[in-house]
């Protein structure tokens, strides 16, 4: 379990075997998503602290300080700002 600090929302614990998006949803937080496969960019999230690992190569455009929670897992405790 890794601690995820979600700006303006709160803190959750993310299991290592779930994508970050699923972990956030499992904690009862609904964030914006569409494809859940990394090609649309709807869940584009600011990564303020920490590091993630992609389970699928993201196809959508993401900036250097952004991640796609639908296709990555947390490698360290994170601080993120999600699209609600």
């Amino acid at each position: 379990m890794l601690r995820i600090d979600i700006v303006d929302v709160g803190q959750i614990n993310a299991p290592a075997d779930k994508t970050l998006l699923s972990a956030i949803e499992a904690a009862g937080i609904n964030i914006h998503y569409h494809c859940r496969e990394g090609f649309c960019g709807a869940c584009r999230t600011k990564l303020l602290e920490g590091e993630v690992e992609y389970t699928t190569d993201p196809l959508a455009f993401i900036d250097d300080d952004e991640i796609l929670p639908c296709c990555c897992v947390a490698k360290q405790p994170l601080k993120i700002k999600v699209p609600l």
């Binding site: 609904n30 914006h32 998503y33 569409h34 494809c35 859940r36 496969e37 090609f39 649309c40 960019g41 709807a42 584009r44 190569d57 196809l59 959508a60 455009f61 900036d63 699209p83 609600l84």
Partner: protein
């Protein structure tokens, strides 16, 4: 520079810009300057579908049950989507292919356009099922003022770029007079037109489809017009991918990762590009007004729809480096996400009725003679 279908000069596509370099010669994908386009091609091809795979026969019954305002909403959206895909099925090919310099981008544009033609074919599939003669619907697309206004705004940036490219490829740079009007053609002006056109296409893929999508899925939430909804889900999945590609192009330019002159133009035309996007948002809100002019539908009204447009506009504008202009902090239509989730759109034969599998197995043609020996 004259266009050639096979440039005989040796070029190194790894050093070419995306646009306005040397024409592409060998269609090779073993090496890529911008690998993202090759990945988008692979993804798009993996999405292959045919409209005929989706059984829309139940929709005919549902359609008869809709109220008149709901019929207006449903049919108007189909007309608008038909317009959008008519433009998108040809324009990227005609506007972009003659000026593209990378094989992977060339093939991406061809693949993208091909999928838009599948979308166009699916509107015919839907309408043929609803009306014995869909001509009236198709004919109205070119005379309906609401649709024409949008068509003019969508096609003008394409037409402008296409015309300037034609002059440049036949006459070169300089001032050329056509029908008494002088046109100044320079590489900088051409690139500016390309930049504005790409922004207009991006706004189309990002915003223009979504009012229609929302209405379609609102019907599906009530278990109405589900065949249509299944098709629109497949279309929405494709459009999400197309949007990714225009976002990549715009960001590659703006971040100076392609043609340095395009980075300069992106900076210089920032306000104009933003205005293109904001104009598309305004037009979509006006469209929502037109859709609901005769009355709302259950689960959706003009206000919610407009706030959804603002919500996705915020998302899509920040993706290309603009500030979020609207004050909408959360998704007003959260159920839309379910319909846009690609896990939910896969059409597997065992999971759905596929009308083409039934062809030849049952005879659904009924003639008047078939009832000849019936007596009441």
């Amino acid at each position: 520079m004259k266009y050639t279908t096979f440039n005989q000069q040796s070029t190194n596509p790894l050093l070419e810009p995306m646009f306005f370099g040397n024409p592409v010669n060998v269609a090779r994908y073993d090496q890529q300057k911008h690998a993202i386009f090759e990945k988008l091609i692979e993804k798009q091809i993996s999405f292959f579908w045919r409209p005929e795979e989706v059984d829309v026969t139940r929709d005919r019954v549902d359609f008869q049950k809709l109220t008149e305002p709901e019929k207006h909403i449903f049919i108007s959206n189909l007309k608008y989507q038909t317009l959008l895909d008519s433009v998108q099925g040809r324009s990227p090919n005609i506007a972009f292919l003659p000026i593209i310099s990378l094989p992977e981008l060339e093939t991406w544009v061809e693949t993208w356009s091909f999928y838009e033609t599948i979308h166009s074919r699916s509107y015919t599939h839907i309408l043929r099922n609803l009306f014995s003669d869909p001509s009236e619907i198709f004919d109205d697309i070119v005379v309906n003022d609401e649709i024409k206004r949008r068509a003019a705004d969508i096609s003008k940036y394409y037409d402008d770029l296409i015309f300037a490219t034609q002059l440049w490829q036949t006459q070169g740079e300089g001032v050329h007079t056509v029908d008494g009007i002088a046109h100044t053609i320079s590489m900088y002006e051409l690139k500016k037109k390309l930049y504005l056109c790409m922004n207009s296409v991006n706004a189309l893929e990002a915003i223009r489809f979504y009012v229609s999508f929302a209405c379609t899925f609102a019907f599906a939430e009530r278990k109405l017009m589900e065949g249509n909804s299944k098709i629109i889900r497949l279309i929405a999945r494709d459009e999400n991918l197309h949007l990714s590609s225009t976002q990549h192009v715009l960001n590659l330019w703006a971040k100076g990762k392609d043609d340095p002159e395009m980075a300069q133009i992106a900076e210089e035309c920032k306000d104009e590009a933003r205005a293109i996007f904001m104009n598309a948002v305004e037009q979509e809100k006006e469209w929502a007004d037109y859709l609901f002019q005769n009355g709302s539908m259950i689960g959706l009204n003009k206000e919610i729809l407009c706030s959804y447009v603002e919500y996705i506009a915020n998302q899509r504008m920040t993706a290309i480096g603009f500030d979020a202009p609207f004050d909408v902090s959360s998704n007003p239509l959260p159920w839309m996400n379910n319909y846009l989730n690609s896990d939910n759109v896969q059409v597997a034969p065992q999971e759905s009725e596929i009308s083409s599998y039934l062809v030849g197995q049952i005879d659904s043609a009924v003639s008047e003679e078939d009832f000849a020996d019936f007596e009441l």
